[in-house]
């Protein structure tokens, strides 16, 4: 047993960090505010060239052929810089297409040829997986929408459909509403493993947000002085920082473990992924919140980066499986510690 990255896995982290520091640092959002972030097609092709849309995809359909334990390392780094979530939606869409037997579509998505939006149900109580009216994230410039309803994954052709644009509280994200009932279905598959993969990768992204919030306040607490001392010397600041560290660490450890369980197709994989997702979501929200509070006034300014973390943590909570459904699974799936 070992839940620490291998040297090969560490290389994935190092190369992702190097690229993101250079091309997609968190600070980029400052200049953009309050407009949505739309990556140029050159940038998009660069990400495709790095293999990020097909990291966990089979190499027979244009993927890199790595597994969940490698993918989470990438998505954790993407969370740390509040990267465009379209990367996440696109990676999941490629997995869904491959699972549906649409190899050519999967290959096209992984190679950066098709950008993907996420379409989340807007009307409840009308059938669990009815298409109907949807809230779309990152639909601006996207040709295809990903729908994840429970274990069912679908890709719909958006064509030139008119979207009712909404301004998202996280202004970096483009958000819109549309009735997709008539949109052509490109693929439709029920695959619990891919649905779990979506939640796992999102959990990793949320862990990244939680860790970045901690990193931000720790570096500030070392230099910001009040009453003649750095604020990090006061227990009123250092103790909440310690709690943030513990919260991020437990979410990270469980996300790592869940990735291995999923890679091994372990009987408890669904339980571990749901628990990781629920915990990581809370860690992202709470750490991003504490980060602003402990910064004081500077924390609420648009000039400073802390607001991007809390906003993204809020929006990300609405993607893929919702917290209640994850907790229901966690409660309903007994864990046997000695089952091995």
């Amino acid at each position: 047993m070992d839940l620490l990255p291998t040297s090969e896995q560490q290389q994935i982290i190092d190369s992702a960090v190097a690229y993101l520091d250079d091309r997609l640092p968190l600070q980029r959002l400052k200049n953009l505010f309050p407009r949505p972030e739309v990556l140029s097609s050159e940038s998009w092709q660069e990400l495709a060239g790095l293999g990020w849309f097909g990291l966990g995809l089979d190499d027979a359909v244009g993927g890199v052929g790595a597994g969940p334990s490698e993918e989470i390392l990438l998505f954790r780094e993407l969370g740390r810089v509040v990267a465009p979530p379209r990367v996440l939606f696109t990676a999941v869409a490629a997995l869904a297409a491959a699972s549906a037997g649409e190899g050519a579509l999967a290959e096209q998505i992984a190679s950066g040829g098709t950008q993907i939006a996420l379409a989340v149900r807007e009307d409840y109580g009308v059938g669990d997986d009815a298409i109907g009216r949807r809230r779309l994230y990152e639909a601006q410039g996207a040709k295809v929408a990903l729908l994840v309803d429970g274990d069912r994954l679908r890709l719909l052709d958006l064509g030139d459909r008119e979207l009712a644009m909404r301004t998202c509280l996280d202004t970096s994200i483009s958000m819109s509403l549309a009735d997709l009932s008539e949109a052509p279905v490109l693929c439709d598959v029920v695959d619990g493993q891919v649905a779990l993969r979506a939640d796992l990768l999102l959990a990793a992204y949320q862990v990244g947000i939680a860790e970045k919030a901690l990193e931000m306040i720790v570096s500030y607490a070392k230099v910001r002085q009040t009453f003649g001392r750095p604020i990090g010397a006061y227990q009123a600041v250092r103790h909440p920082c310690a709690d943030m560290a513990a919260r991020a660490e437990e979410a990270r450890a469980l996300t790592f473990l869940a990735s291995v369980a999923l890679a091994d197709a372990a009987p408890d994989a669904a339980l571990q992924v749901s628990a990781a997702r629920a915990l990581a979501q809370e860690a992202a929200l709470k750490n991003a919140d504490d980060n602003i509070q402990l910064h004081g006034g500077i924390g609420v300014t648009a000039e400073f980066d802390a607001h991007h973390l809390i906003k993204r943590a809020n929006v990300a909570a609405h993607w893929f499986g919702d917290r209640r459904s994850h907790l229901v699974r966690v409660l309903g799936t007994p864990f046997k510690i000695d089952a091995a």
């Binding site: 047993m1 010397a233 513990a246 790592f256 091994d264 809370e282 229901v328 091995a340």
Partner: protein, 392 residues
Amino acid sequence: MNLLETDEDKAFRASARAWLSENAPGTRPFEKAAGLAYDKAWQLRLYEGGWAGVNWPKEYGGRGLSGFQYMTWVQECIRAGAPVTGGSNFTGQFHAGPTLIVRGNEDQKREHLPKILKGEAMWCQGFSEPGAGTDLANLRTRGEIDGDHIVVNGHKTWTSNGHVADLQELLIRTDPDSTRHHGLTWLICDMRTPGIEVRPIRTMDGEVHVNDTFYDNVRIPIANVVGEIGQGWSVAMSTFAFERGIGFIGDQIELINMVEELIHIAGEVRLPSGKYAIQDDGVAERLGALKCEALALRALTISGLAYIERHGQPGPEGSMMKLLLTTAYKKLHQVASDILGPEFLDYPQNPRSANPWAYRYFRSWVLTISAGPNEIHRDIIADRILGLPRAR
């Protein structure tokens, strides 16, 4: 990253399970003398069966196995209903023994380690004082060198198992001009030495687990010094490193089992609303979140053991483990009080077995306070993991 058990791991688990199925003892008796006899008998049986000191070095009577195999052993003990935390032998197994292995001389190891493994000598801790608990380096119990002895005078407190112990790990100030963590010495103290008085402290659960210990000209041979005179702080840190490394494995496994048990109970108990407790959104939210935390603590345990395998010693993450585990333990028992309703209030003569939820509810403060209160662990995280400016 991987979670798979090797064939060797599986064979080890099978052999532990087989042995425990024939040898696991019944319930530990409540009464003091009977409890002590039970602990000694179980430890001797472990020794004779080759299961004492699973992760201790072979040359001192242990099995020399890895932290992961130790975790497997603990899982199997819990599965079989066998004790894992050592009872009266806790300090010997988890504090004094590991400290002697790392810092003791050959004579001390040969004399004491086999007795711990056979259950022949029970140990207690003599670190904290009335003015030196969280701030341990403030301790004042003093020792003066007189020929080949050290003469000890002072007062220790929170002496766990002091009322049943044969020996004590005793940390005293031997340099009268020293302050803080300088000039301290770690000693093996025979609890039957004249001049020692042990007075029990009754705790909120109605029981006696800890004591005050008074020293009036207690003569301890210099040969009982572990490490060097004046190096006691460094020796005590070895004690803590072990405690923070694998000392929580049993509690972590038990936490998951307790959470599962409470989820089960919540499906059978009705609230005043007439709904089963588990159907209540508030209860479900709290229980679900606790189970996520219990699973995360398992993941953290495995990460921590992997770290020890790679680096040979535990990382500073032990403080996070302590903080998260004890906080979750307390929350679990707060939820239990909501679910069980007035039944939670029954506190009969034998609360450990009759109302374990209330009994452990009281114990939850012991966990969040002992082995360094959680507040001090937050400081340790801030200092050693986050590198924040020092508070002191």
